[in-house]
Amino acid sequence: MSLKADANLDLSKWSTRLPDAPADGRSDEEKAEMEFGRLTSEKWLSIAKCDPDHPFKAPIADEPPYFVVIMTYLNYLVMILIGHIRDFLGMLFTPQNYKAMLPQNGYPPWYASFESFYPRRLKGRMDDCFARPIHGVPGRYTYCFNRVSPDGNKNFYYDGSSTPCLNLSSYNYLGFAQSVGRCTDDSIDSVRTHGTSAGGPCDVAGHSDLLRSTEKTIAKFVGKDDSLIFSMGYGTNAHLFTSLLNSKCLVISDSLNHSSTRFGIRLSGAAVKVFPHNDMAALESIIRESISQGQTKTHRPWKKILVCVEGLYSMEGEYCNLPAVVALRERYKFYLFIDEAHSIGALGEHGRGVTEYFNIPSSKIDIMMGTLTKSFGAAGGYIAATQDIIDRLRVDFTTNIYGETPPPPVLQQIQTSMRIVAGELNGNEGKERLERIAFNSRYLRLGLKRLGYIVYGNDDSPVIPALLYTPAKMPAASRMFLKYGIAIVIVGYPATALITSRIRFCVSSALTKEDIDRILAVANLIGDKMCLKFGSGMAGGEHHPGDWKKGIRPRWSLEEVLAKTPEDCKKEMY
């Protein structure tokens, strides 16, 4: 927990050095329960399937009241003004604090002051909410080190203790972050048999048997011929596009695509057009125009057109309108790249991602990319495609040839967890994990909506963004949730639009229904205290009609939410 340092707090026993994890005296059973809660009732399961008649439903988007929008802008204005005044005076009177931004002995500054304005003046004030150090497994609970900062987040002091917090911050969708159980046992065995390192790029140092079998497992899981694995999800996208595209190719990219995809496209030198997030009409008109007009100036036809979308947009909790994109692909013959970083394992009845969710055969997608960090508790990314494409990429993909291969325990973790999800190992365990995340996501989402939060995204998405708007509420929310023992992630500009700062709840199978009850109770309390309940009520199924003329909005009380939502959330009603 990070407290504002008390004036009386004696810091002499605290240290600026981050302590080591304290000794763990718990039994394996206790540990297992803290990492992955036992299912309390068969009732708390659900299946993530879309309605076959209306595959894609755009989520109901609530607008914030005007005064909130104005306040948000005002908030930024005040912070920017004060920040600039402080910068100006600071550089004038205490240049020693601004060394990195001022020329030193004829050397240019490390970075310009405007480049670092946001991190210093806005993010710096809530630095205690970011990069909170933890120890142990980021499972159902995560252990945050207690720290205080007496000097405005410049230095942090630790007393060596830590607090277990209910974890809604880790990308641990299926709850595979565990230190006990089949996955970890297998991974530990792989250290014994294969060591800790892969020994270099796989094209040079050789394919290990483990790498080959893991590639096959992934290919089978997503329904493609073959796959390639990389040790970093970001690196997969960042260097993929140079092998696919050149300056005579066009990329049409969703406006909310991840930074790694954008970096990769930039590196490839291809022309880029961006369509507004999930706007299929705009996408179609861009495609029509691009094909008919050809390349700029020369009007020669584009060699290839690649459309890049994500399965589940991690900041919005929305999935892409894949049925519509695939229909366009049939008509316009472009290639389709889909980034399933957040959807693989987390969506679909069998966890096969957004394609399974929308019941679209994987042959309709040219290149399937995904990460192994999120649902499978490992690290890295994969590319799955037809044999021809993978064969080419094997001798052409730079990360494969010049970069490291994932180390053995990571490969083993991928393999074991994926086989559990596919039902090949441990019987019904995979099914239970999938049904638990489906239920947990739907329950928490509907519960928050009914409490009055404005929540973005689709019903089955395990990422649940609850809007805060005013930037000052970001640190406040983070600190308050932490006080109640809940670890959440807050995101604001530049990761989101300027005014839509938000809390991001990342749901996990490891949470029990009772955990979610507790989260809702805390969210109710904090929502009232911090004035966060702006929802119009239409998203959560109105209960009290409210009185619109008097500005009374429809709200559910916590008791009603807890009593009705667990059953309601399973229905296709909202």
């Binding site: 230190s179 080419r392 001798v395």
Partner: protein
């Protein structure tokens, strides 16, 4: 006769009166505004003196309005051909894209088979499986692993890694800024900084992504970077993606560097103080040599450039205690502003790192893409790297740090022996040329330049002005393929295959021509490590020598062409 004055139509009168009233109230309003009176008086006076001027100014104002309202892309709009819906549909029906990736050609398919399939750990001796027959050969001496110090199979490293996995599982499940920072991540940053003698450190999930993410944090448009003309691909791409001005100096030619810097100095004297970097490697991945760091530091200090040093291959291998190139020259790490490196090689783990001063590291926490937008390294990887560092530090001779570390000494001896055997071999001197230096743990061997000349091969493939680079510019994917490059690599692969029959696994440089910005020469590559015995190396030498003589001994133009046709 009296004529009645002609009556003006009524509506014109009304319009005129409204207009004049509006004009009057506008003028009065302007006059009421603070300072408005002066403006009106000024305009009146100027109009009185020069009515033409008013006319011109109004025209100018109209032009400005039009300019601001015009679309930014009006040029593109103008370029567009106007088409009817039917024509658009026809064009769409006619459009046939090229395949998403060119299918592997028949004559490059062998490259897929040339990737060895290894069972078990990537240690000194491995079991290799033939991809076609499935036949397994065990006890093969492995010269392909980059785990130079054999840390990946070290029992202490394994034990600590297992302990960490029992405490924290495998994955970190989150980016470092969102609950993805564990105690062990902070520890390994501290350990790296302390080991290398820097203020602070930061770690990345992958070594290849590290430079392409670090360098663009500090270089933007208008900044200058001077890059060695032999750096590895990651650094080439890093310079490219920064969008700054890139100058190349000849590989390891510090005179040329100095000349470029002094030329730049004149140009830069009057300009703004933009950021300037020199980018080079501690031990070149493509050449196996190092720059003269002492002189390099003098030069960069004289011209006030900062140094970006990639120590991917030199940390753990160079210097008495594996602290990299600065330790060799006795230069403090603080002289090197940015150091990047890999934990996936000598440290027997996974991931990349960057060390340097506090301000530089702190800026990366929010600005470095691969740090911000990517999950943390698995915690046990951090533990494994920390353990390797501790092992090296504990083995250091505390009384005399310049004495070779017993953990690293075998590697150095093996590298030297390997280099000596090949470099001084009489039977091979007409066939191959050893490009790397004696201290490099990676042995680079090229086909002897006279032999290459007699085969009619160019000095290097690809690079500026080559037909491959032209094909890349024009997007002709089918022309990325260089027949001679392919065959030369195939010849080297024959050597490798022959070695494997003698139970020695070596590799060759696998560089993709159309990605490389710099010229490439195919090489045979041997990675030495600390666990080989003298007998191992001598045995390997005998096997490789025989294989080279077998394949290259009677290689001539005719035979080379036969290889090409055979593919």
């Amino acid at each position: 006769m009296e004529t009645e004055p002609q009556k003006t139509p009524q509506f014109i009168q009304i319009v005129a009166s409204i207009a004049s009233r509006a004009w009057y109230s506008l003028i009065t309003l302007c006059g009421k505004l603070p300072g408005g009176e002066y403006v009106i008086n000024y305009v009146r006076a100027s109009h009185k003196n020069d009515p033409w001027r008013t006319f011109l100014e109004i025209l100018l104002a109209l032009l400005a309005i039009r300019y601001f309202l015009a679309s930014r892309y009006s040029q593109d709009e103008k370029d567009k051909v106007s088409l009817t819906e039917k024509e658009v549909d026809e064009l769409i029906d006619d459009w046939v894209p090229v395949p998403i990736v060119p299918k592997l050609r028949k004559d490059e398919r062998w490259q897929l088979d040339s990737i060895p399939l290894i069972h078990g750990p990537a240690s000194t001796r491995v079991t290799v499986e033939d991809p076609h027959t499935g036949k397994k050969t065990s006890d093969v001496l492995n010269f392909t692993s980059k785990d130079f110090l054999c840390m990946g199979t070290n029992s202490k490293v394994k034990e600590e890694s297992i302990k960490e996995m029992r405490a924290a599982g495998v994955g970190a499940c989150g980016p470092p800024n969102f609950y993805g920072t564990q105690d062990v991540h902070v520890r390994v940053c501290e350990d790296l900084a302390k080991f290398l003698g820097a203020e602070e450190g930061i770690i990345y999930g992958q070594d290849y992504c590290t430079p392409t993410s670090v360098l663009p944090c500090f270089l933007k448009r208008g900044d200058i970077v001077v890059v060695d003309g032999g750096v590895r691909l990651a650094l080439q791409k890093a310079a490219l993606i920064s969008r700054c001005d890139v100058e190349w100096f000849n590989h390891n030619d510090l005179d040329h560097l100095e000349q470029i810097l002094s030329n730049l100095e004149d140009d830069l004297k009057d300009g703004p103080l933009n950021r300037r970097f020199i980018v080079t490697e501690g031990l070149f991945e493509n050449f196996g040599d190092s720059p003269d760091l002492k002189r390099l530091v003098e030069i960069k200090n004289h011209y006030k450039f900062r140094l970006f040093l990639d120590e991917t291959n030199s940390v753990g291998t160079l210097g008495p205690n594996g602290r990299g190139l600065p330790e060799v020259y006795g230069i403090p790490r603080t002289e090197i502003e940015i150091t990047v490196g890999s934990m996936a090689q000598s440290l027997g783990s996974s991931g990349g790192f960057c060390v340097g001063c506090h301000d530089m590291i702190y800026h990366q926490i929010l600005s470095s893409n691969a740090y911000v937008f990517s999950a943390s390294l698995p915690p046990y990887c951090a533990t494994a790297a920390s353990t390797s560092i501790h092992l090296i530090e504990n083995a250091e001779n505390k009384d005399d740090p310049s004495k070779s570390n017993p953990l690293i000494k075998p590697l150095k001896d093996n590298s030297k022996l390997l280099h000596r055997l090949f470099n001084e071999s009489n039977s091979l001197k007409d066939l191959i040329f050893v490009r790397s230096t004696g201290y490099s743990p990676v042995l680079h061997m090229r086909i002897n330049s006279n032999l290459r000349k007699s085969l009619g091969l160019p000095e290097g493939y690809g690079g500026p002005g080559s037909f491959v680079s032209k094909a890349v510019k024009r997007g002709h994917e089918s022309k990325y393929f260089d027949v001679q490059y392919n065959t030369e690599n195939y010849v080297l692969q024959q050597v490798i295959n022959k070695c494997l029959d003698g139970k020695v696994l070596i590799t060759r440089s696998k560089r993709v021509l159309h990605h490389e910005l710099l010229p490439v020469v195919p090489e045979l590559i041997l990675h030495s490590n600390s666990k080989f015995t003298e007998e191992d190396i001598k045995h390997a030498y005998n096997v490789i020598e025989k294989a080279i003589i077998d394949v290259l001994g009677n290689l001539n133009k005719e035979r080379f062409d036969r290889y090409t046709n055979e593919l």
